[in-house]
Structure formats: C-alpha cells, structure tokens
C-alpha cells in the first residue's frame, strides 16, 4: 500500500499523493493533488466522462458512482480517500460484449430520460437501490431516488423503469403494477 502521509515542504504550495484503486475492475494508479475529487479524476484524468458533473456540491446526484458497491457522490469524494477501493461507474455496467445492464435497458424502454445529463447518475443510483431493497414499493423507490434530480422531469419514466426491473427480478411481469 502506498504511504499516503502527505506533507508540504517549505516553499512548496502543494504535495501530490499516489492513489491506487480499482475502477470498473481495472487497477489504476494516479498521482494527484489531495484536493482532486473522484469525479474530476474520472473525467479529466481517465476520460471516463460517463459520470457527469452537475452541481459539484452534492445537491444533484448526477455524479453518483458506486464505491465498494455503495452509491456515493463522486463530487464530494476526494480521490485520496479511494485508495484500495473499488469504484464502479456507468461505463462499468455494460457487459463486455456491449449488452446493456437491465437498468440501462429499462431506462431506454420506459423513457427514463429526456436530455440525458442526469441519466448516468440516475442509473447508478437505481442499480444500488435495487441491491439495497429488492422489494421497494413505488413510494420507497421515489424516496430512495430523491438524491437524483432530473430537470427535464422524467421522474415518472424513471420510476417505471426501476419498477420494471424490480418486478423482473422478483419474477412477476415487468410493468404490471
């Protein structure tokens, strides 16, 4: 494990820190300033631009990714705090031969977006939600997705998409409710 004890030598304005983590199953090592967010590292250093920067202040959810399987906001996560951890982004959901994740497919089928900017965050959040509560009610889906804002107002389609995957996982007909 990399020694992460940063220090600021006399006359220098900053210290860079080496961070080693896994992103979508691949090991990655980056030398960054401590102030670098996970979001900026993904987009600016690794060209993983599927994760979107909306508000950059933890209010919109567009930057949602999974760390060790839990949904978090990458704009408020410093990359230095991700050392040794597993990050999954929207790019990591697609199967190797290009097949969409069931939640991605459902967003397409049920019109879960309009402009698409919030969609990667919505989908990552929905994937985590369906792991957290496989039997979430419609009200619980709305509550559990409240951290993802959609300015186009595609909320009904988003709930329809999530409900269909929930029902498919539980063996009933998608969209039956």
């Amino acid at each position: 494990m990399t020694e992460l004890t940063g220090h600021r030598p006399e006359g220098s304005t900053q210290t860079e820190v080496t961070v080693a983590l896994q992103i979508n199953g691949k090991p990655v090592e980056l030398l960054v300033k401590p102030l670098t967010s996970l979001l900026d590292a993904l987009r600016e250093r690794l060209q993983l631009t599927g994760t979107k920067k909306g508000c950059d202040q933890g209010a919109c959810g567009a930057c949602t990714v999974l760390i060790d399987g839990r949904r978090v906001l990458s704009c408020l996560t410093l990359l230095v705090q991700c050392d040794g951890r597993q990050v999954t982004t929207i790019e990591g959901l697609v199967a190797p031969h290009g097949q969409l994740h069931p939640v991605q497919a459902a967003f397409v089928q049920f019109d879960g977006f309009q402009c698409g900017y919030c969609t990667p965050g919505q989908i990552m959040s929905a994937v985590a939600l369906l792991e957290e509560r496989q039997t979430a009610s419609d009200a619980e889906i709305r509550e559990a997705m409240s951290g993802n804002l959609c300015r186009c107002g595609a909320y009904n389609g988003i709930v329809d998409a999530i409900r269909s995957v929930r029902d498919a996982c539980n063996g009933s007909t998608p969209g039956a409710l």
Binding site: T5, G6, L73, V80, S146
Partner: protein, 329 residues
Amino acid sequence: MRDFAYVRARDVGHALGALGERANSMLLAGGTNVVDYMRTGALVADALIDISALPLRDIRVDQGSLRIGALARMSDVASHVSVKKFFPVVSEALELSASAQLRNMATIGGNLMQRTRCPYFREAGFACNKRRPGSGCAAREGFNRFHAILGGSEHCVATHASDFAVALIALDAVVHLESLSGSREVPLREFYRLPGETPQVESVLQPDEMIVSVTCARVPGATRSHYLKLRERASYEFALVAVAAIIDAPQGIIASARIAFGGVGTVPWRDGDAEQALTGCAIADADALRNAAKSALRGADPLRDNGFKVDLGRRALVRAVKAAGGGGQ
C-alpha cells in the same frame, strides 16, 4: 479549492497528533460537508487529517442502551435492526436526512459537527459572523424564512442543520471525546453553544479533540419514539420544523415526555416547557395536547420571514406526540 496537505490517520493517536502538529488542521471523515464548504471557501484548512478508515464504526444496542462509533455511516445506523426497534426516533431522523448517497458517505460524528446551511454562510459575497467574525449577519435583514426563532443573537440566527442531533438531544445522549491529554464525556445538551457574541464557536469541542462515540442510556418510551420532519419538498431537504418526541404513556396518560425541536433553533432545541405541559395529558385527548403545545417554543423571537414556525412547530408537536404515544397521526 485551495491546496491543503493530506494525512491519512493510522489510528486515533496518530490523528490527534497530526491535528496538533499544524494550526488550521481539520478532521476529514465522510467529507460531505468539509469538501463542499472548502470548495465554496466557507471553510479553509491547511491540512486535512483523514480519519474515515479508522475502526470507530461499531453500532451497539445492549439492554436498551445505545453506543455508536463516531465513524459509523448514517445509512448503517438508520438501517440497523436494533436501532430501528429500540430507538426509532434515531433511525427516522437519519432516514429523513439528506439523500441515500450522502447517508452512505456521511458519518455520525461528522453529522454532529456539520456547519449550518445558512446560505449567507455558504456564499463568500455576504457578511457572515460565522465565516468571517465581525463582518456582520446578512440573514437578519435578508431572506430569513429558514432561520432560527430561538437561540439567536444580533450576530447570528443560523439554524443547526442536523436531524440526528435533535433526536439525540431528546434522548439525553452523551458525546465521548478524546485528545492526547485524555478523554471526557459531554452531555449533548451541553455540547453546542449558542451563537451569542462568538457565532463562529459552535461547540465545546476543543481544537485538539475528536469525537469517538455517542451513547444513549435506556430511556422510558424510546421504543415508541417518533421523528416528524416538515420541509418544503417531500424528501432531500432540511427541516423547516422537526420534532423528536419520546413519550412514555403506559396507560394512555403521558408519564414523561422528551421533546426536542429541529429547524427552529441555533442549536438543537430541547423543550422542557413542552415536556412539563404534556406530562399528565391523555394521548387520546387532542384538545389537551393542543393546549399543552402552547407552552412549546417559549421565548420564540421570529424574524421577518419565519414567524410561521411558531404555529407550525406547535402543530407538529401535537402530531408527533400522538404518533409516538400510539394515538396515530
């Protein structure tokens, strides 16, 4: 964001040592508040001491008492089976806070130490005595619908943002602190400081101390407690008014009540007057509860835009007491 040095703490001792090594160091846990406010410039630190990986995440419920490690995540406490069963007010307050993503990141120690969401604190273009002592308070004459009606001073009327702290204050929780010179316990009711002349000083936590855990002893009625939060949208919003109600009413008559308000005070607001007035009331007697609620929020001193909080708070109290006491909503 301004550059800062980063130290990953190996253990509590290392964290406390690093904290003392350099002036203007801050602890970093979940980062949801610190990273956000460092980006806006509301917080400035030369070094962040990262304690997020330290093993202070235990959640224990034992014979009706509760102990939560400072670095337990909000989501882990909220979904903990025994917390839900024995301290529903805690679980509900957490579930009604922030969003699922933020609850997965934010720690309970960080939650207690979070800074106000007063928009004038956040934005560097406005006067704010918390951000720049002596610069004035833009909220007093500004848009102050969300501000405090209790505990304010001419220097600050910002509300305390935590729901969790409101539930804990009602439960007489104790905060456990450590520094290199030892450890001490502080009742949460004595932990927060009213703004007075020095609104930038928000608690009795010293610069060389850190929170390591929070505990609550067994409290009558805790298993039937309730947290009611009223806000301007259905979810993912701070409270206009919130009520933590712990009601012990074995035969439908209130034997003891513990009441705390959120969204109304500059600190989480325990309301002894309301508790006294509610004692002896029948849960089923709505008139008696409404009458008792008139004693709540005594001394409220509303600003231009937030006078509605007095009536809203009293009505919320009645609803929360009914729900906690088993009388339905």
